[in-house]
Every structure is written in structure tokens, then in C-alpha cells.
């Protein structure tokens, strides 16, 4: 991110709408992450001034919740469900295989910035276990030998 912080008009409007509502911080952080895929430090600093909230409180909230990220994920974030049903049906093996295939661990981003891997809690498709979600597309009853094909498909996107 450049040092010159320029928030989009939509984001600015959103912040303006929520500015004086009690309990606004988490909703605003969601909107920030929707835009940047993570919460950049510069934006956190901006929010601190704009909302008159200590930066420490913002970071306190961001680090408390799993959903918020401080590091930019890959262009395609691969979420592997490790909820109970998926775990029992091999969600953990999918994670290991992905780590092997992409050469990065959970939470890491590939060198070309294309992929990142994330283990997520139940996405609520337990009937389809094990499940992975890539850019919102759900892959159910997934077997690990399908993974190379799926990665190849997203590589070109």
C-alpha cells in the first residue's frame, strides 16, 4: 500500500454513515477488510483519528477476532474447513496436501502472491464434508487428488 492513503468514496461514505453509531468499530472493520482483504495499518491509523478511538483498541479488536487479518492474503485465498465433520472426513489431510502443493504453510502466501491457505471453522456445509472454499466457490466432498486440478484452474483466473 502506498504511503499516500486514499480511501475509496464508498468506504468514506460508509465510515461517515457509521461514525456516530454506538458499536460501529466492528462493522467498519468488516467494510475495510471487504475492500483491502485485510486491515492495513494506515487504515487503522486513519480510523483511530476519524472515530476518535485509540489505535490500541482497534488492534485489540482486530487481533481478537479470527475473521480480521493483518496480512494481505493471496489473490486466491483457499479456505479449508476444519470444523468437526470436515476434520473427521479428512479436512486435515487436505490442508497438508495443499501445503505440499503450494509450498507454504497455513497463513502463508505463495511467492507469486497468487495463493494463500487458511484453515477455517465450520462453513456450515457439513453434509458435503470435507469442504474447501476458494473465492467464495465451495468445493464439497473434496478428495486430495482433486486439488492440483483446482489450483490450476484458479491459477489462470
Amino acid at each position: 500500500m502506498s504511503s499516500e492513503l486514499q480511501l475509496s468514496k464508498d468506504l468514506q461514505d460508509f465510515i461517515k454513515t457509521w461514525k456516530d453509531k454506538p458499536g460501529n468499530l466492528i462493522m467498519i472493520l468488516h467494510r475495510v477488510q471487504q475492500e483491502y482483504k485485510y486491515v492495513p495499518r494506515e487504515v487503522a491509523l486513519y480510523l483511530s483519528k476519524e472515530l476518535n478511538v485509540p489505535l490500541a483498541k482497534i488492534y485489540g479488536v482486530v487481533t481478537f477476532y479470527h475473521f480480521f487479518k493483518l496480512k494481505k492474503p493471496g489473490r486466491h485465498n483457499i479456505q479449508v474447513c476444519i470444523g468437526t465433520a470436515c476434520y473427521l472426513k479428512g479436512g486435515g489431510d487436505l490442508l497438508l496436501e495443499l501445503e505440499n502443493l503450494l509450498g507454504v504453510g497455513v497463513g502463508g502466501v505463495t511467492g507469486d502472491g497468487l495463493f494463500s491457505i487458511e484453515g477455517v471453522r465450520c462453513v456450515g456445509c457439513c453434509g458435503l464434508a470435507p469442504v474447501a472454499v476458494i473465492d467464495g466457490e465451495v468445493f464439497g466432498k473434496l478428495k486430495k487428488d482433486k486439488l492440483p486440478e483446482i489450483i490450476a484452474k484458479f491459477k489462470d483466473k
Binding site: 481478537f64 468437526t84 465433520a85 471453522r121 453434509g127 458435503l128
Partner: protein, 613 residues
């Protein structure tokens, strides 16, 4: 449309049923998250387009909420023919249109019951036969994005009754008669929460819906919101009227985009009809609902933590009392119930508390929704009367174990619950019975495990979860959980000692008694209950360094029986670690140091030459 009155509601309902009866056939396509992920939206588009292209003006195609039978999704149902199509693909739409909708011939190959006889109903199949749908009454039947469809099924009639016929005291009395208890897990009587909040002084009271379904392996609330969002909005408005609150919040997981989307549509449509906002249905009662997004913290299922999160802070629990009913959101009296609890309310108001209390056991009334998952044939969302046995759920509705292996245990209540061993398969499920055998009702996750699942590993899985999710505020949970997890890791690595079991029990007891909130207080349950019923497995890990389920990799060793090995080289090619060597047509060997114990060789060998110890 202008603000509706009670008479308008009836008019909408009549018009809507007129619209419905004008159609000869109605095609219902499941639009739950599970089926949508298998392209049900494309099926829906194709069916619509196909019907239009064929000039079928007397056929309606709608997208509904979850049918529940997720294992066989995507599901398409055609009424009034009671045709229940399963595992439908987008390209099947053309055949359904051409054969069924145009010629009137069911597409037998897509039917769940391939030998379906005329006159049989979709609800007659085993998966549905024992189910009773109160909470899910509209799921899979109405279009959740059309408020008129909800109204046509008595939607907002309960609200009208509460606004114009009943006093708040009568509403609470009806809830009391019904015996409805909180479906979030603890089972606190709903009427008492409402009564406390009603009596509590406060200028601004709040109604909160807990839709932060964080329990891994559970999706009851998501499906309810996706399939019938108005049932929750109506109930929250009823609660507001009853306790004197005019603002409501739904705290929902950000991980549920479809449920959020449908709620947003539902709230918008309700406002347009004046079912939310000022002077609802022409009364002097104002009420409105806003959404607040969760951000992935399991502890926010705890009510005081959830309220802290709505306030925009870290979701840390507070000591109770004071209870939220008296001092909740921003210090004001707050009723907080979960999605399933609310989804029961309108039905109770319309049909009466006694009707509801007619279902269930002595202490637990009504029905319960479960997300039946794991090693079960018919995985899906089910609703059964309280008091149904686990055997009925797993074997009659669920169709038994998917792998054909032996049932080992079922887990209820997620990370706060325990395992239910085979000996309790015939126990009627209710709050008290589950507590008695060391588990809890919980929110409704029900995970079936077979012989391939290691009980020590399962306990470790849940402890990893709760350690990760502990907010860190109180030390019994923060430190105790970590200590138990460490001991479990030791045991699964084959480094455990007998005294570790005593230590686990002792720490678990301390956590149960001294933790600030239910997360810590129940975190040890998965370990304590597996120890109670499967101690033998723990002892095997410790004494014999053996994991009978073959899950704990550090205790496994793979080897090749030279006499049986034909030297085909298949395992050598399959091994991802390059741990197998050998010349062609001669017995191969596994280098134990290189082996990552993935089991790929065992699965690939056609001669039974590879063994796991």
C-alpha cells in the same frame, strides 16, 4: 406498497394463494448453502428458462430454503406430484422440463425413490418419516425472498394477535405453558428471560438474536435464516412488544453471506409493508431490527461476550449476575435468544402453548433441530420431537453408518459437549438425559463417529479448538485448557503416562468449577466424557503405544509383508515421501524414517501386503 393493516395481511395471503393455485405445478429448488455450492442456482435458472422456452405459463419455479437432506443435494421437488429429485445437475433441468413439466412423466432416474408408486408423498421417505417440523415449517416450502409467501402461511398473524388481542402478560403465560427452553444450549426457560426483562426498569430495552453459530459441525440456525428469515423477525418483534423494547439486533456470523443477504431482503420487505418501523400494523407499537456482524469468535456465543461484540469491543464475557435480562446491551434490559428459539415463537402464539407442550418429554417440550453429520449415510438437517432416541435419529432417519463400519459414538454439543456411547443409543434425548450421561443438548450439532475415529484424537481436536477460542480473561480456562491439551498431545504421541489421566481429570474439574463463562466451564467435557466411556483407548495409547483407529500418526508403523508383495511398484509410485524402495517384481520395503504415515500405500496395495501397526 403502503403500510399494511391486519386486513391487508389477509388480503395478501388470499392473493398469494390465488397466485399459487393458478399454477398447475410448482417446482421447488433448494437454495440452501449446501445445495447452492453444488450449483443449485444454475439448476434454478435452467429450469426457469426451460419452462419459459417451453411456453409453460402454468408452472412456477421458485428457490426455497434448505430441504435438510444435504447428503443428496441439490434437491428439486415438484408439487403437487410429490416428486423428490436428488443429486440433480444443471444439465438435468432440460429433461425435467421436457419429460415432467411438459409430458407429465416423472424422471425416474433422478427420483430418490426410483420405484416410487403414485400417491406416495415425499415426506414418506425414511429421512422425513419421523421428523416433525415446527422450526423448519417453511424451509423448503416457501421462497424466503418473498414476504408474501411467508404471509400466505400464516406469517405475521402471531404478531397481529400479540398486538391486538393479547396483553404482554398473556404472551408470557402462553410461553410458560409451552415449556419452551432456550435452544442455544443451556435450556433456560424462555418465558423467564422475557419476564425478567419486562419487569426490569429501563428507558431503552433491547431484543437480541444470537445467530453466531460458532459450534463447528452445526448449521441449524444458518438454514433457518436462509429458509425462513421472517419467522425470526416476527418473533423478535413479538418479544419487543412483550417486554417493551423497540430496537432489535441480529448478531450473525460474517461467514454466512447467504443468510445475511436473505435477512437484509427480509428486513427491507418488512419495512416496506410496515411490519417493522413505526406504528406496526396500524398499532402504536414501533420496532426495528438491525444486523450486526460477528467476526469469528466462538466465545461470542456466550451472551455477555456477544453483547460486548455488538458494542464494538473484544468479545469478552462478564461475570453474571447481573444477567442481560436486567443489565444487557449498553447496560439496558435485553432479551437474548438464539435463532431456533425465536423460530418457535410464532407457532406457539398461534397454536397455543398446550399444543407445543404436547410434544416432547416431561422437562423438554417441543422439537429440536439437529445438524446430523459425520459418518452417517443421510447427513443433513433434521427436526424431531424432544425425546426421540439417538438410535432413531442415526439409524432410522440417518440410515446408519456411511462407511458400513461399526458405530462408535455420537458427539453432541460441540466443543462444550461430550460423546454419547453406544450403550445410550436408546436414551430419549432431552436436556436432562444428555446432561446425565455427560454431554449437553448444545445448539444441535450431532456428529456420528465410527471405528476409524480415535476418541483421544477427537478430545484433542476439541481442546485445540477451545484453547484457540479462549478469550484469556480468566485463568482456569486460559491455563487449564492449554495444560490438558499438552497432556493429550503427549498421549497421542505415545509419551503419555498413567498419572496424566488423573491430572486431566483434576484440571478439568477445576475448569468446570472456576471458569468465568460456559466456554471454560464446559471446555473439558469432551475429554472427561471420552475418558468416562473410552478409557480403554486412552490406556492403549499410554501402555501399548497403540491407536486402534489408526489416527494418531506417531503411534503408527507401516511395513510390507515380503511373502505377499509382488513387487508391482504401485505403492512406490503412490508414496508421496519417497519412503518405499525395491526392484520390480521383488518385495519392496518401507524406510520407516522417511515414512510420513499417510497410508497411501496401504490404500493402493491390491495384494494385502502392507500392514499398519
Amino acid at each position: 406498497m403502503a403500510k399494511a393493516t391486519v386486513a391487508d395481511l389477509q388480503k395478501i395471503a388470499q392473493e398469494q394463494s390465488g397466485v399459487k393455485s393458478a399454477y398447475q405445478k410448482v417446482v421447488l429448488v433448494c437454495g440452501g448453502t449446501g445445495c447452492e455450492s453444488s450449483k443449485s442456482d444454475l439448476i434454478y435458472q435452467n429450469l426457469r428458462q426451460g419452462a419459459q422456452d417451453a411456453g409453460l405459463t402454468n408452472v412456477q419455479v421458485i428457490k426455497t430454503g434448505c430441504f435438510g437432506f444435504c447428503e443428496k443435494g441439490p434437491i428439486v421437488k415438484v408439487q403437487p406430484d410429490e416428486s423428490f429429485y436428488v443429486e440433480v445437475k444443471p444439465e438435468d433441468a432440460a429433461e425435467i422440463v421436457a419429460e415432467h413439466l411438459v409430458k407429465g412423466q416423472e424422471v425416474a432416474r433422478l427420483l430418490y425413490d426410483k420405484n416410487k408408486k403414485p400417491g406416495t408423498k415425499a415426506d414418506d421417505i425414511d429421512f422425513y418419516k419421523k421428523q416433525v417440523r415446527v422450526v423448519l415449517r417453511n424451509c423448503g416450502i416457501i421462497d424466503p425472498e418473498n414476504i408474501h409467501e411467508y404471509i400466505a402461511r400464516d406469517g405475521y398473524q402471531a404478531l397481529a394477535k400479540v398486538l391486538f388481542e393479547l396483553t404482554p402478560e398473556q404472551v408470557i403465560e402462553e410461553l410458560k405453558k409451552s415449556g419452551l427452553r432456550g435452544r442455544g444450549g443451556a435450556g433456560f426457560p424462555t418465558w423467564r428471560k422475557w419476564d425478567f426483562s419486562k419487569a426490569a426498569p429501563g428507558a431503552q430495552k433491547y431484543i437480541v438474536c444470537n445467530a453466531d453459530e460458532g459450534d463447528p459441525g452445526a448449521y441449524m440456525d444458518r438454514s433457518t435464516l436462509e429458509g425462513d428469515p421472517h419467522s425470526v423477525l416476527e418473533a423478535m418483534t413479538i418479544a419487543g412488544r412483550t417486554i417493551g423494547a423497540n430496537r432489535g439486533f441480529i448478531y450473525i456470523r460474517a461467514e454466512y453471506p447467504l443468510a445475511i443477504h436473505r435477512l437484509e431482503i427480509a428486513i427491507k420487505q418488512s419495512r416496506e409493508l410496515g411490519l417493522l418501523g413505526k406504528g406496526i400494523l396500524g398499532s402504536n407499537f414501533d420496532f426495528d431490527i438491525e444486523l450486526r456482524l460477528g467476526a469469528g469468535a466462538f466465545v461470542c456465543g456466550e451472551e455477555t461476550a456477544l453483547l460486548a461484540s455488538i458494542e464494538g469491543s473484544r468479545g469478552m464475557p462478564k461475570p453474571r449476575p447481573p444477567f442481560p435480562a436486567v443489565k444487557g446491551l449498553w447496560g439496558q434490559p435485553t432479551v437474548i435468544n438464539n435463532v431456533e428459539t425465536y423460530a418457535n415463537i410464532a407457532a406457539i402464539i398461534l397454536k397455543g402453548g398446550e399444543w407445543f407442550a404436547g410434544m416432547g418429554t416431561a422437562t423438554s417440550k417441543g422439537t429440536k433441530v439437529f445438524a446430523l453429520t459425520g459418518k452417517v449415510k443421510n447427513s443433513g438437517l433434521i427436526e424431531v420431537p424432544m425425546g426421540t432416541t439417538l438410535r432413531e435419529i442415526i439409524f432410522d432417519i440417518g440410515g446408519g453408518i456411511s462407511s458400513g463400519k461399526k458405530f462408535k459414538a455420537a458427539q453432541s454439543g460441540g466443543p462444550s459437549g461430550g460423546v454419547i456411547a453406544e450403550e445410550f443409543l436408546d436414551t430419549p434425548i432431552d436436556y436432562e438425559n444428555l446432561a446425565k450421561i455427560g454431554s449437553i443438548m448444545g445448539s444441535g450439532g450431532l456428529i456420528v463417529m465410527d471405528e476409524d475415529d480415535c476418541m483421544v484424537d477427537v478430545a484433542k481436536f476439541y481442546l485445540e479448538f477451545t484453547v484457540d477460542e479462549s478469550c484469556g480473561k480468566c485463568s482456569p480456562c486460559r491455563i487449564g485448557g492449554k495444560q490438558i491439551l499438552g497432556l493429550l498431545e503427549k498421549i497421542t504421541k505415545g509419551q503419555g503416562a498413567l498419572e496424566d489421566i488423573e491430572k486431566i481429570k483434576k484440571i478439568g474439574k477445576a475448569m468446570q468449577r472456576a471458569s468465568l463463562c460456559a466456554l471454560g466451564g464446559t471446555a473439558a467435557n469432551p475429554v472427561i466424557s471420552t475418558l468416562k466411556y473410552f478409557e480403554q483407548e486412552y490406556l492403549e495409547h499410554i501402555n501399548a503405544k497403540k491407536c486402534r483407529a489408526g489416527k494418531c500418526k506417531d503411534l503408527l508403523a507401516f511395513s510390507i509383508i515380503a511373502e505377499k508383495c509382488k513387487g508391482c511398484g504401485l505403492c512406490l509410485r503412490k508414496c508421496p515421501a519417497g519412503a518405499i524402495s525395491g526392484e520390480k517384481l521383488k518385495p519392496h520395503v518401507i524406510a520407516e524414517k522417511k515414512c510420513i504415515k499417510c497410508g497411501a500405500c496401504l490404500a493402493s496395495c491390491k495384494f494385502g501386503a502392507i500392514v499398519r501397526k
